[in-house]
Amino acid sequence: MNPVPSFSLYLILKMASGEVQTSDYQQRRWHNIRKVLERSGPFCHPDFEPSAEILDFIMNSCKVLIVGAGGLGCELLKDLALMGFKKLHVIDMDTIELSNLNRQFLFRKNDIGLSKAKCAVEFINKRIPGCEAIAHHCPIQDLDDGFYRQFHIVVCGLDSIVARRWLNGMLMSLLQYNDDRSLDQSSVIPLVDGGTEGFKGNARVILPGMSACIECTLDLYPPQKTFPLCTIANTPRLPEHCIEYVKVLQWAKENPWGSSTALDGDDPQHVAWVHEKAQERAMKYGISNVTYRLTQGVIKNIIPAVASTNAAIAAACATEVFKLASSCCANMNNYMVLNMSDGVYTYTFNAERKSDCVACSNTTRVMDIARDATLQAIYDKLCEDNAYLMKGPGITTIINGRNKTLYMASIKSIEEKTRDNLKKKITDLGLYNGAEILVADVTTPNTITIKLKFIENIDVEMSR
């Protein structure tokens, strides 16, 4: 078991300001949280010293970044603003859709099509006087380390695992180490992360470099459901198989809106077309229950969502942000699962760090690979191994002091030029035992260095 890492944001920052000025009105308005901040109790964090300065810090200094202004983001914004936080930033690239309104309560029908981040911020600043939230309507990848470094705490309510991993990688890249390789705690920006799916959810606290990070626990994410292509094409059994067929094969073949128009799950005409064709296919095979709702669900990979689960998970995250900022009690250690489908059940456990985690370990990762393996084997390992689970890694190496691109899928012209390398043996590409490869992927803002370790592959081949 890992010991509970001791971390106190408030103490690290050593509040310099002495006098705290607040009006009577402010005193009364924040009466509720002032009781837990200005009074000591038997279960407080050992570092906690009750004072009026803590609320002052929360209100006037503590900068919190909320990533995502969707189901969780709207809740987080409200929760944190009502816990005294004023310096809130919200980032979200999405615009508001009708299907958001069953839970994203800062938006109205008139707001459809507008930026989620801007709309949410405008609403909260109006409803809660003194709140100074700032919106960023862009992808998280558009902002650099200088932007992320300004925050004391980041809280994340995303539905995309890739974006979450990228953000995790960004916070890890901001870590600084002392000369003796120990972590410089002032470079730690805690990450509070929440996620929901239907009636289930989770909330966790990550102290970068100190406790398990997103990459340490990739195996906690369920693998995405996929259907084998041969089943879809030849032996469909389920309505999903018929929809997948139209989505993957028939659309590309028939190009109903011309070859330049990709299938858009938000375009009702596109969905209607897929629905109709999938029904035709289902009819041909005697398969029933191809509905419009299912069609849309398969095309967009829709995750069910409801206001109540989002409210509970966001609230659990907000409580942790409040604890981090105030040290009024110890943070959860460090991962809570919530299941509301059979009663209401929570379970908190200590997710453990991986000593050789790609993102947070400050050590060079080693990959075991057969001497006579092809580059494809390395590529597959990067995509399928639980330690990496990358989406389309670009692989380079340095040979005789020069950068050499071995394979890169993200840029078409380079992909074509390097495609043949996948079939080549790694030794023919100039790689050797102990060689380092540099890997870039959408799941991380950083280039990851991996050291190859050749293994003799007798056992593996014999069993085939």
């Binding site: 949280i33 309560f105 629905h275 209401v344």
Partner: protein, 535 residues
Amino acid sequence: MASLSPKSPEQNEKSKQYDRQLRLWGDHGQTALENGHICLINATALGTEVLKSIVLPGIGAITIVDENNVSDEDIGSNFFLETTSKGLNRGSETLRLLLELNDAVQGHSVQEPPDQILQENPDFFKSFSVVIGTSLNEKLIKDLSQYLWDLNKPFILCRSVGFLGSFRIQFREHSIIETHPENEKVDLRLDVPFTGLSDYFDSIVISTLELKDHGHIPWIVILYKAVQKWQTTNLNRWPMSRKEKNEIKDIIQQFIRSDENGVPINEENFEEAIRAVNTALLPTFLPVKVQDLIYSSAAINLTKESNPFWIMCSALRAFVEAEGKGNLPLRGVLPDMTASTEHYVKLQNIYRNQASVDAEIVYRKVQQIVSQLQCDSISETEVKLFCRHAHDLHLIIGSNIALEYQTGSPVASYIARHLEEPDVMMVHYILLRAADMFKSEHCRAPGEWEPESDIAKLKNCVSKILSDVSCSPFPKDDHIHEMCRYGGAEIHSVSAFVGGCVAHEAIKLITKQYNPVNNTFIYDGASTNSATFTF
């Protein structure tokens, strides 16, 4: 250019708005929600957080009962108040801002004190689907819960103090047809195949199949054939023991064909058959839970007022005893498995058709009962849904909140048992109760002015409750001190957590889907811990 397909009913605006939740409780669940009416007593931060997550998904109507005027503290912790709300009635102000969330929801606000309503106009509560109360005083808790118990009206009592939160659900009984279990058990009837199924099995001879078809027959067929073969040397028994099941696996292995070099050909469907041996060979049986339901007195002694659930249970019993030969109606769901389209669809239809035949029989029995009792009719859709989920029917018998306040009741010894363990979550429950008692005695929350001086007084309240449940006093004052530190403060994020949960449970009660908490939930935001107690 592609043609526009006719507008299907699923594309309307409401379906789009509620799409993400319709995937969880379906259109029929949504209809139930839209016919629901929630009454909230006291629009505290906790109260409005509950309503928020009920208004958003589209409850039919809400009524807020609140006599209080808005204070600065309210504005500081309640999202559904504005600076300009100060001094105005809290119920009508929060109602106004809550209704902005969803224009399909109706809202009412009542400014009379709830105890006065209970005294002078108790019928007021009759029209609601669920009553939810926050910040109620001890006397009102007792009176209201007793009244709603007698009225047979679901009641959720919730609290949020400092880092602690709790809710208690009270109803007499709650039946759930769609429990949405995580792992739905399969109902294949391999041991008692109905005619359609055995005819299909008999039409296939594995040894004469062409190689292509051999790899395409569903594992159910393979397993059935293996058992048949095994039975010829085992007196037609059904394989039960681990050893016998291993023998079945061996037979399946023998079915697998080999190529010209004698190497077994890898066929996914046979692998699936071997993997299924341990689970799919469980004999068909009537689950004890369902047996208890259909033979309970509520299902046997029907009256005109009987709940449709009990009428259907009664029809189910008649089916089990006659046509079902001891078993429930067939579920009619075939799990996904490797197979050719033709085989899979054919087998799926065999199961579906039999399920619909069974459901039809149950429906006729329901109609008979309905006409005998001369009660409200039950639709075929309802009966079909009931039969489809007959294996997972769930009934919760509730208990009266008033019992928690009675000395010497079984609830008291239940509380005592948990305290002796010691279970810290039960300690939290006692402290929440003690804080209520303190408030009735001193007209303020413990620690509201000054924490230290109230510790002794709160300790008195704790001692009274502990002696009522025949428990010795707490060895330490730490939890009492912590409650005084909170001073009755309502922390928004704790209220938001409990509020989300309570809204969720109210939706479960109204839609009659998913199992609700039975019956008390305690949450400690400081330790991120929760517990469920059944009082």
